[in-house]
């Protein structure tokens, strides 16, 4: 994307001529997500897409951090889009495609339809983490 550089920083052109529909932030304890992933391994497909699960299944030490970042980003995006009681929106309607840099996630299904109805044309999200917590912030633009 021209307005997000290689380091993941967003430039002013992202906001040019656009209105902010909503912002969302989420913070999560990594130990909780780790426990959740271990306890519900057979149900993870309801929360994480296939490509996200592929990232999480990496046995590397960072996989707990990655799953936490992904979960926090999904939560932040739904908050930025102000999804309330729109039935049928699934966790998998959001696919995080980059765990490190600011990026536009893949938004599909009923979430995509909802966004069109609210004239939301772009959503950007970024996350960070340390050994204890993952945090994410999202912005939805009209």
């Amino acid at each position: 994307m021209a307005d997000i550089d290689a380091a993941g920083s967003c430039h002013d052109s992202v906001l040019a001529g656009r209105r902010v529909y909503g912002i969302g932030v989420d913070v999560i304890e990594i130990v909780r997500i780790n426990r959740f992933v271990k306890n519900h391994s057979s149900m993870l497909q309801r929360v994480f897409t296939a490509s996200e699960r592929n990232l999480i299944s990496n046995p590397a030490k960072t996989s707990a951090q990655l799953s936490s970042r992904i979960f926090a980003m999904k939560e932040a995006i739904l908050k930025a889009c102000r999804i309330g009681w729109q039935e049928g929106v699934s966790w998998n309607d959001v696919e995080i495609t980059d765990c490190i840099h600011c990026h536009e996630p893949l938004l599909t299904g009923k979430l995509s339809l909802y966004m069109k109805s609210k004239r939301i044309c772009r959503v950007l999200v970024v996350s960070s983490a340390n050994n204890l917590y993952a945090v994410a912030q999202a912005i939805a633009l009209m």
Binding site: R32, F36, R82, E87
Partner: protein, 127 residues
């Protein structure tokens, strides 16, 4: 058919496992966030455990309304509006809205999510 006591017992087991609390910390009036320390991921954990334990399917947002406090249509000046209260009554019949409606301050909203609420929801699902 499970009795309400049996449902309560199984719900308690789910909460003990999901939240790492002691069984004697759980009572029908316990609030999930205030008393038992639940956070967002824990709600999903609880939903998955209830589904497994009772062989039921709980749709997203079916048990816990999501992000209501960010919807300006349903919240004004820190209080849930009449429209918001009606929406809650329509979509979330397992919540005790009448009591909350006496003082619909958003700060009191989390108090709606009690162990008893879970028992009522599951009992309704099973019936």
């Amino acid at each position: 058919m499970l009795t309400k006591d049996e449902v309560y017992s199984k719900v308690t087991d789910c909460l003990v496992e999901a939240l790492g609390v002691d069984e004697d910390e759980v009572s029908p009036e316990s609030t999930l966030t205030g008393d038992l320390g639940a956070e967002s991921i824990d709600f999903l954990d609880i939903v998955f455990r209830l589904e497994k334990s009772f062989s039921i399917k709980i749709p997203r947002g079916g048990l816990f309304p999501e992000n209501i406090l960010s919807n300006p249509e349903f919240v004004k000046d820190g209080r849930v509006t009449e429209k918001g209260l009606q929406e809650l009554r329509d979509k979330m019949p397992h919540l005790d809205i009448d009591k909350f409606a006496n003082e619909p301050n958003v700060n009191n909203f989390a108090d709606l999510f009690t162990v008893d609420m879970l028992v009522n929801y599951v009992s309704t699902k099973l019936n």
